[in-house]
């Protein structure tokens, strides 16, 4: 390598490292703003302010879904295994919404710790398998480990 090329290589390396370092600092500072949702534990730790629109993410607790037969109202509990938050919502739920699956509710938290959602999105995990495989896994008592939320 000629000296000119060595110099250019150093400039290129410095450019990439410099931009990388700047980005690392910027995104560390912006960390909280990069989060799309907060967990029930965050809500309990009062990290989530009341009466402000937030996104609550977690799993729909098994057996918690109650649908009103006369309207689109639905109540369920969002859990992360440590804490639970009761959620109410009126509207059409996505196809993937089901007990034990991930969900993200956008709405407000009441004083009494009740969450009123105006939008509910389903979150799917990273596991893919045919239905028969899932059945045999279940009958063998080895359901796939739930994804971290």
């Amino acid at each position: 390598m000629t000296p000119t090329r060595k110099k250019r290589l150093a400039i290129v390396a410095l450019l990439v490292l410099g931009v990388g370092a700047a980005a690392a600092v910027a995104f560390t500072a912006l960390n909280d703003n990069m989060l799309y949702f907060v967990s029930p534990t965050d809500v309990h730790a009062a990290a989530a302010p009341e009466d402000k629109q937030i996104r609550l993410g977690g799993l729909v607790a098994a057996g918690s879904v109650q649908r009103d037969p006369d309207s689109l109202s639905v109540r369920f509990t969002v859990t992360d295994g440590r804490h639970d938050v009761p959620v109410s919502f009126e509207g059409i739920l996505p196809d993937l919404f089901r007990e034990g699956q991930g969900v993200i509710a956008h709405g407000r938290l009441n004083q009494d710790g009740h969450f009123h959602a105006n939008e509910v999105l389903a979150r799917h995990d990273e596991n893919y398998m045919p239905p028969e495989v899932m059945k045999s896994l279940e009958s063998a008592g080895h359901p796939p480990e739930a994804s971290k939320q």
């Binding site: 400039i11 389903a122 045919p130 239905p131 495989v133 796939p144």
Partner: protein
């Protein structure tokens, strides 16, 4: 000895007529390979693999979405390596190849975003969300478009290529951001299914179409990039003798 021969080969690629010939010879083979892989992949994806236990048939979008996403990022990494070589050695054919990679990478990024949206609507319940993964992928599309725009804005092609190459290296920071966004922050998008280290989260019966499509789009990227590079070279060298000879032969 081997190093010397590699070096000679490398320098010969810098010669426009040799590079033009290489593009012309390689392109049809790469396209043929892509067609073969895509035909096998699509057949597996639509006819052979079983539906998913949660998502039914909608997960078949994955066989387009994931290869497109991987290729969008791989194209960028390849483009950045070429850009570094172009900036250090100032080889014109490498500059041209770098710039030819951008539109193809942009096409894969757009395909990834569009299919992701088409998958998100029925499963998540929304076409779009401003989470870290989706946003960083959109930023990648804008970076690609910015590189193409910057290159086109210069009257002097070589100057344009050099300035755009610097933007390529600056934009490289976005690639780890896309990859790790689902680990560093909470996102609507789920984590990685296929892992280089550790066990993948997809049943082996569903893997063949993913593998075929991934290989297929890699070949296609090479083919489309060489096609574009060849055109750029032709346009830049239109007044040169080797082009005149070339046209004379083919006319």
């Amino acid at each position: 000895m081997i190093f010397h021969r590699l070096k000679v080969g490398f320098h010969r690629l810098g010669s426009p007529p040799t590079f033009h010939k290489l593009c012309r010879v390689l392109s049809p083979w790469l396209w043929a390979g892509f067609l073969l892989c895509a035909a096998i992949g699509l057949y597996y994806a639509l006819y052979v693999v079983p539906p998913d236990y949660q998502q039914g048939d909608s997960y078949r979008i994955l066989f387009i979405h994931v290869p497109a996403a991987w290729q969008a990022m791989a194209s960028y990494v390849i483009m950045a390596i070429l850009a570094a070589i172009a900036l250090i050695w100032r080889i014109r054919t490498v500059e041209i190849m770098t710039m030819a990679a951008a539109p193809v990478g942009a096409a894969f990024t757009a395909l990834c975003l569009a299919t992701g949206s088409l998958w998100g609507k029925p499963m998540w319940g929304t076409w779009w969300a401003w989470d870290a993964r989706l946003t960083s992928m959109l930023v990648l599309l804008f970076i690609y478009l910015g590189i193409m725009g910057l290159y086109a804005a210069f009257e002097d092609r070589r100057k344009g290529a050099r300035v755009a190459c610097i933007l390529v290296l600056v934009g490289l920071v976005n690639i780890p951001l896309i990859h790790f966004s689902v680990e560093w922050w909470t996102t609507l998008h789920q984590g990685a299914t296929i892992r280089l280290l550790g066990e993948s989260r997809m049943h082996p019966s569903m893997l063949p179409p993913l593998i075929w499509m991934t290989i297929g789009v890699k070949l296609m990227f090479g083919a489309a990039m060489l096609d574009r590079a060849r055109n750029d070279l032709l346009e830049q060298d239109r007044r040169k003798n080797w082009i005149r000879q070339l046209i004379g032969e083919s006319a």
